[in-house]
Amino acid sequence: MANLLLLLVILLNFYTLGSARLVACIRAVALQGALLALLPLATHGPTGHALLLGAGALLFKGIFIPLLLLRTIREVRIRRDVESFIGFVPTLVLGLLVTAGAFIFSDFLPLAHEHHEGLFVPTALATMFCGFLMLITRRKAITQVLGYLMLENGIFIFAVLLSAAIPLMVEAGILLDLLVGVFVMGIVLNQISREFTSLETERLTALKE
């Protein structure tokens, strides 16, 4: 069950990297968040902690944040397609390379015995790398936010393995931080589009030495 979820997460990574439409990207990241919400349940069974963590993740990662982003793109009326510094196919190839790399790399990691078989660690790494790829290769500020969210999703996968170490209060705080962070980013995005009449990060180059 957990492996199936993680597999879908990887497929969504590829989908997001290859998708040309912003709304589709946001939906994919939202779906990824919602799938991750099931992950604690699939790993630890329906304990109170897992249920609450899952509900929190679903609420924040799966619903609030995507709604926030969708509202933002509606408000700023930006062009709906993703623009990339490199083409989609090269991005996909890079995504594949980093994903395969993550899988091979995690074979060499001194994992705990029970995690050798599962897909947890490689998927976490792969999702993080794909998030980085989004951050680096995309032009629009909003796609960078998506990259950041993917990065956080990857970290979340790893965190599920260790949910015993992180008390619920702290998990809630972390999710809340993420939400408020994206909220603030949304406001800044709004201001960027108002000032620059576009969301291209290439315009943000006035400050340099």
Binding site: L109, P110, L111, A112, M128, L135, A141, Q144, Y148, L151, E152, I155, F158, A159, L161, L162, A164, A165, I166, P167, V170, E171, G173, I174, D177, V180, G181, V184, M185, V188, Q191, I192, E195, F196, T201, L204, T205, A206, L207, E209
Partner: protein, 475 residues
């Protein structure tokens, strides 16, 4: 009481949201800042306040807490005067954000659980983003965006580092998996080494981004340059200290696990790189606030080097933490005044500051002397101690390199600072005048660092020694 210390500014933030009175909102800041400082002083006299397993103060966090609280109070007083000048921009957002920022910093300082620490540090990022965006122009948007994105991603990596450390506990199998700091410290020797090392590296990178160590400093000049002066002071003096505290926690853990040398090597390397990068960019820097930002990078480098050398140098680094925070506070506030008066922070417009603005200009010049480590100010003492530590540990070449870089920084910074302050008075187009509220804080900070350079009070000395000894605990 600790809980009250953390939470009461939140009440202040709530009040400020509903207070329909401009002056009242502004005065909430020094009110909360003063109460915070008062409570902090009370707490420091009481023995080891602890609030459950997650929140508590040890010697290190006491040191950072008192410095941050003092700096915040000074900035809060300045803020009243500053916000009076900026009635056009309003204070409906900045006041609550400043108060939440205080909450987040206090929580980060007193956190004894790595997860809580992470959460609080991320909260500082989020609450300070609107502060940097206060001026609402293109440049400040750009600075805010870079700050928000880089720091969020950096902090994300720090989260991964934390998880790696928890995983180290999981792999070792012998202890319960927890991120509670004391239990981690007590079980440090059995943590799985590869995961612990990876975790340390990620924590260093993550919180290093927040602290502004090279090569992760690129947001710093932009954010400090575009933020209002007091925000720059809070970020450069308070937030960096908090981030440094987070890194010190990681160092503590590594030392307890018996791998302190590796951690120190990493810090030393990043510290030297930071100093070198800062020195390069400070030469011929035409913007006084960016100059201060690079100076901040440099001083973060000095802190990292001090801890990286260990022994006497660590003591020097602790002292330098105090000195740096207050000096940066003084400089940023004075620079903020100059910028307000000249309506510019570029050297092309700013010159003759002493003649034009006698108090702010003089404080800026004195602050420049202090920050570059000239006697008789405090930073001279701390840098001297660090250098003594380096030479006595036998690493002569590193000592010479640090000396050389300090020299470059002095020359580079001096060229800009002297051009800005010396010369004929200019006719100001703004009606800015040095007022009591705007100069009292920088002057006080300057006096304190002057005092610290001449005489180190016994309580502070023992506090510094306690903090240092915490970092030296071997397994």
């Amino acid at each position: 009481m600790l809980l009250f210390l953390i939470l009461f500014p939140l009440a202040g933030a709530g009040t400020s949201l509903f207070l329909p009175w401009y002056q009242g909102r502004s005065w909430l800041l020094p009110l909360c800042g003063g109460l915070h400082l008062f409570l902090t002083c009370l707490l420091l006299n009481s023995p080891a306040p602890q609030l459950g397993p997650w929140i508590g103060l040890d010697a290190l966090s006491r040191l950072v807490l008192i410095v941050t609280s003092l700096l915040y109070f000074g900035c809060a007083i300045y803020a009243v005067g500053y916000l009076n000048l900026r009635r056009d921009r309003g204070n409906k957002i900045i006041v609550p954000c400043l108060l939440i920022f205080l909450v987040a910093m206090t929580l980060a300082i007193s956190a004894r659980h790595l997860g809580l620490l992470w959460m609080a540090v991320e909260a500082t990022t989020i609450s300070s983003a609107p502060l940097i965006y206060y001026n609402r122009n293109r440049l400040s948007i750009e600075a805010t965006w870079k700050y928000l994105l880089l720091c969020s991603v950096g902090i994300g990596l720090a989260m991964l580092g934390m998880l790696f450390i928890a995983y180290a506990a999981l792999v070792s199998g012998a202890m319960s998996v927890s991120l509670q700091f004391d239990s981690l410290l007590s079980g440090a020797t059995i943590l799985s080494r590869p995961w612990l090392h990876a975790g340390f590296v990620f924590l260093l990178v993550g919180f290093g981004t927040k602290m502004g160590l090279a090569p992760l400093h690129s947001w710093k000049p932009d954010a400090y340059g575009e933020a209002p002066g007091m925000v720059g002071a809070l970020l450069a003096g308070g937030l960096t200290s908090v981030a440094f505290l987070a890194i010190l926690r990681a160092v503590q853990l590594m030392t307890a696990a018996g791998d302190g040398d590796m951690a120190r090597q990493a810090l030393l390397g990043m510290g030297l790189l930071s100093m070198a990068v800062a020195a390069i960019f400070m030469v011929r820097q035409p913007d006084i606030k960016r100059l201060l930002a690079y100076s901040s990078v440099e001083h973060m480098g000095i802190l990292a080097i001090g801890v990286g050398i260990g022994g006497l140098a660590t003591f020097g680094a602790m002292l330098h933490l105090v000195n740096n925070a207050l000096t940066k506070g003084c400089l940023f506030l004075a620079a903020g005044n100059i910028q307000r008066a000249y309506d510019s922070k570029k050297l092309s417009r700013v010159h003759g500051a002493i003649a034009t603005l006698p108090i702010s200009g003089s404080v800026f010049l004195a602050g420049f002397l202090a920050v570059t480590g000239s006697p008789p100010f405090g930073p001279f003492m701390s840098e001297f101690t660090i250098l003594r530590g380096i030479f006595s540990s036998g690493q002569v070449w590193i000592g010479l390199l640090v000396l050389f870089l300090l020299g470059v920084v002095f020359i580079g910074m001096g060229a800009t600072a002297l051009t800005a302050t010396q010369g004929e008075p200019v006719h100001l187009e703004t009606d800015f005048k040095d007022s009591f509220l705007l100069v009292i804080s920088p002057i006080t900070f300057l006096l304190i660092i002057l005092m610290l350079g001449v005489y180190l009070p016994e309580p502070l000395q023992s506090a510094l020694r306690d903090a240092t000894s915490l970092l030296e605990v071997q397994p």
